[in-house]
Amino acid sequence: MYQRLTAIAIVLALAAWPQASAAPSAARPSGPPLVEQSTAFEPLVIVVNRSNPVDDLSFAELRRIFLGNRSHWTNGRRITLVMRDPGEPERKTILRDVCGMNEDQLKTHFLHGLFTGEILVSPKTLSTPIGVRKFIFNVPGAIGYLRIRDVDATVKVVRVDELLPDDKGYKLHVTDQAGN
């Protein structure tokens, strides 16, 4: 009985999970990109609510957060993960560089985590950078990512491994044709 219920829940969750925009990329295995198709790099910044006391995150911490393995901030606020729609270059960059997964793997990871109770809330999906910005502005525990040109004063940029986007060695960069 318990196994049947689990199977039904997984099927329903898979049906509700946002579909990747590109089918070939969904079938692609995880790991570093096979082909670099990007033509121009732009820093992808990690942003949080301005009331969030966190200024700096390690890359490992970032990975834990984006995989839903860390649920609360140091001030006790629940972490709300904000993602762009599947297929967006920014999302692809995060999946590739931070999570080290593709869409299907991420989907499976979250379904499993939600089912087992290891993950409390699934990521929120927003279709525009403005939406991401406004969401983070409204939710004190929200964390998301934006191209550097989409950042304004309503959100706070956090350092990754003590590096800001302009610093040398900053790891997160997005291209319009970012491969996955």
Binding site: R78, K124, T125, F135, N138, V139, P140, G141, A142
Partner: protein
């Protein structure tokens, strides 16, 4: 010292006294005009009050609109935006789409910004302590509601619907209820202010109505009085004129009958052969000549008066030397003056400028004045004829004055206003059986005015009178014209 009333100008007398005399005299003669003037003044004063009331009402209405009506409108908008803030927050509960939730959150924040601005505006306009207190309370309560709203929005966006609903019920609803009560309080204050303004407006309108009724009543009353006074004045004038004309007819008849009786008896004596000898005939001839001339003179005077009355007698003004005219008049009146035993003292200022006038007009005017001086000259039998220049009263410039001064019976101050009226004869003069038609001074005055001048009098009872003819000095242009006219044109020369 004899009581004096001085007319016209006299540089030796104070300026204020003649002015007051003139006003009182005019007031006694123009009752109807005074009444009309009073009507105008009354209407103007009450009208000014009404205009002030209307202006106040207008200001009050504008203030009422600006403060109360506009304020109520603002509060209405504020209430709507407050509801919109809450409504948009609650709409976010109805969807799980984060994009839509963000949009609703955005709408809620836009609406709450409008509410904040509205409350700040109200706070700036608040002047009364009660208004200031409500503004502060409203700001506080709205800020508190927004804090709760932000938590609710965060919970909704995080996906914690239960937590959001719980937060809204425990904190949002009571906080919003307090805001709603505050807004109702503001509304009540605006309503009270509007009621006060409306009451002021009604009172002002009522006051204006009463004042307008007052204006109408006052105008009607005084207009009626003015019409009555005008009619009465006209009636009295008509009666007075009829009386004067009757007296004039009687006087003229008397003046004509005396020489006529002399003529008739002289003619009878001659016809009956009672007059014998050349000397007697010559004496009778002289009597007939004198009496017929007197009659002719009287008829001429009446005709002249009639012509000045209907305006047919117009004088041709030209620059004239005063001295020759005065010399001529003195010669013409010498028989009359010396015959009555008077001494005429002549005093003409040297180098008198030329005057604008008509020779016959000036002569006739001065002859009348000299004739009067002889008639009313009293026992001292002294007449002075003076010609001099003097400044024009109330204007810059100078004029020539010719005064006839006598030391006779003088004129009572009460009569001075009437002596230039046609047919007027002083009761004192009538009682003294001094004959006359009552036309002489009236005629002289009209002649003076026809020549652009005027006639004035200065008199003291039992001391004497001074009648002065004021004439304009001829200007350069007049002199030039006169010279041109007097010079024969070249074409007329042989």
């Amino acid at each position: 010292m004899t009581k004096q009333l001085k007319f016209a100008f006299d540089r030796r007398s104070p300026v204020l006294l003649p002015f007051l005399d003139r006003i009182l005299s005019a007031a006694s003669r123009h009752n109807a005009t005074l009444l009309l003037f009073l009507v105008c003044c009354g209407v103007a004063v009450i009208g000014a009050f009404v205009i002030r009331d209307l202006q106040r009402a207008n200001t009050e209405a504008q203030r009422m609109y600006a403060n109360s009506v506009h304020g109520l409108q603002q509060i209405g908008e504020l209430q709507y935006d407050a509801q919109e803030t809450r409504r948009a927050t609650l709409y976010a509960l109805t969807t799980s789409d984060s994009n839509l939730q963000v949009e609703y959150a955005d709408q809620s924040r836009n609406a709450d910004q409008r509410v904040k601005d509205g409350i700040a505006e109200y706070g700036r306009q608040a002047k009364q302590p009660e208004e200031i207190e409500i503004a502060d309370r409203l700001t506080r309560d709205w800020t508190h509601y927004l804090d709760v709203r932000d938590e609710v929005l965060a919970s909704i966006l995080e996906g914690s619907i239960k937590e959001a609903v719980s937060l809204d019920l425990s904190g949002g609803v009571p906080a919003f209820e307090r805001v709603r009560q505050d807004l109702n309080e503001v509304k009540r204050l605006y309503g009270e202010d509007a009621s006060r303004s409306q009451a002021n407006l009604v009172a002002s309108a009522r006051r204006s109505t009463w004042r307008l009724v007052g204006i109408h009543s006052f105008t009607l009353l005084l207009s009626g009085a003015a019409v009555w006074a005008i009619q009465r004045s006209r009636m009295l004038s008509a009666i007075q004129l009829a009386k004067l004309q009757m007296e004039f007819v009687a006087s003229v008849s008397h003046e004509l009958r005396t020489p006529l009786a002399v003529l008739s008896s002289a003619a009878d004596n001659i016809a009956d052969g009672l007059v014998e000898g050349k000397d007697s005939m010559r004496r009778y001839g002289a009597i007939l000549q004198h009496q017929s001339r007197s009659m002719g003179h009287l008829v001429d005077e009446i005709l002249l008066f009639a012509s000045t009355e209907d305006g047919t007698n117009k004088y041709v003004l030209q620059p004239l030397q005063v001295s020759p005219i005065i010399n001529s008049i003195v010669t013409e009146t010498e028989v009359l003056v010396k015959g009555a035993g008077f001494v005429l003292d002549r005093n003409i200022e040297p180098d008198l400028p030329m005057v604008m006038g008509d020779v016959s007009g000036i002569s006739k005017c001065l002859q009348n004045l000299i004739s009067n001086a002889v008639k009313y000259g009293g026992d001292r039998r002294q007449i002075a004829l003076r010609a001099f220049t003097a400044p024009i009263e109330q204007w810059s410039g100078r004029e020539v004055r010719i005064s006839v001064v006598d030391r006779g019976i003088g004129i009572d101050s009460s009569e001075l206003a009437h002596i230039f009226d046609p047919f007027y004869r002083s009761p004192r003069v009538n009682a003294a059986q001094i004959h006359g038609t009552g036309l002489g001074l009236s005629l002289a005055k009209r002649i003076a005015e026809s020549m652009g001048g005027r006639l004035s009098v200065l008199s003291e009872l039992s001391i004497g009178s001074t009648f002065t003819l004021h004439l304009q000095i001829a200007k350069g242009d007049d002199m030039q014209t006169a010279t041109t006219l007097s010079r024969p044109s070249p074409s007329s020369q042989p």
